[in-house]
Subunit: 146 residues, 2 copies
C-alpha cells in the first residue's frame, strides 16, 4: 500500500497543489487496506464529516491514477475499484474474502506475453492481469475455523 507521504510527494512533483480536500482524500485512501470504490471514499468522507464534494473525490482518484499511485482494477463482478500501490509495473491479486490486495511481480509473465506476440505477430502495448482467489491468511483461517 502506498503511504500517505508517497502520494503527497507524487502530487507535488507533478506540479499539483496540496489542497486540504486532496490531503483528506489521500488520508482516506491510505487508511484503507484493500481495494475501494469511489463510493466507499465518498461514504468515508461523509462519515467523518469532511466536507468534500463527490466530484472532488472522483477528481482526486483520477489524478492519483494518472500519477500511478493508485490503479484501477476491475472486479470479476464488473465493478470498478481502485487500489493504492507503488508507481511501478506490477499486477494485483485480490482476495475475495478479506478484500485485501497484494501486488505481485512479473514472475515470468513477461516472457509469456513475448511468446504470444512472437507467435501471432501482435504487438502488445498494454495488458491487464488480475488474479482473484483466497489469500494465504484467509485460507489458514478457514481450515482452522471450520
Amino acid at each position: 500500500m502506498a503511504h500517505h507521504a508517497t502520494m503527497t510527494e507524487a502530487l507535488e512533483q507533478a506540479g499539483h497543489r496540496l489542497t486540504a480536500p486532496r490531503l483528506a482524500a489521500m488520508r482516506l485512501i491510505a487508511a484503507r487496506e484493500g481495494p475501494f470504490t469511489a463510493a466507499d471514499l465518498v461514504a468515508d468522507a461523509d462519515a467523518r464529516d469532511l466536507r468534500i464534494g463527490r466530484a472532488t473525490v472522483f477528481r482526486a482518484i483520477d489524478l492519483l491514477a494518472e500519477l500511478g499511485v493508485v490503479e484501477r482494477i476491475d472486479l470479476p463482478s464488473g465493478e470498478h475499484a481502485y487500489v493504492a500501490c507503488r508507481p511501478a509495473h506490477h499486477h494485483h491479486m485480490v482476495c475475495d474474502r478479506c478484500g485485501r490486495s497484494t501486488e505481485i511481480d512479473d514472475a515470468g509473465f513477461r516472457s509469456v506475453v513475448a511468446e504470444i506476440a512472437h507467435r501471432t505477430g501482435f504487438r502488445v502495448d498494454a495488458h491487464r492481469l488480475e488474479l482473484f482467489g483466497r489469500c494465504a491468511d484467509c485460507l489458514a483461517g478457514e481450515t482452522t475455523d471450520r
Copy 2:
C-alpha cells in the same frame, strides 16, 4: 468469432427458447467482428428497425455470457465490452486500431499463475488476462501505408 449456429445450438442445448428477439440479437452479434458494447447492439437493432427492447438485449447478452459463447472484457478505458467466442478457456487480444479480437491460448501462462500461487500461498480461483495493442494486419498496413 462464434458463428450464429454455435450460439443457437448452445441456447437450445441449455433448454432455452429460440425466440425471434434472441435470434435477432445473435445475428447482430455474429455480424460484429470485434468487441461490442450493449449500447452498440441496441443501436444496431434500432438502425435495422428490429423492435427489440433494451432489456431484452441485455438479457440476451447475459444469457450468452452464462453459456460461455460471449465473454465480457474490460477495455483499458474502463468500458465493458463483450466478444463472441468459443466456450472454452482462453484469453483475448484486442487490436485497438481495427478493434478485432483474437483468442489466444494458454501459452505457458498457467504455469506462471501456479508459480505465483506457490510463492505467495494464494489460491487463485479466477483470473483476468487481456492484451491490447496492434494486430499483425494493422501493423503491416501501417508500415506500407506511411
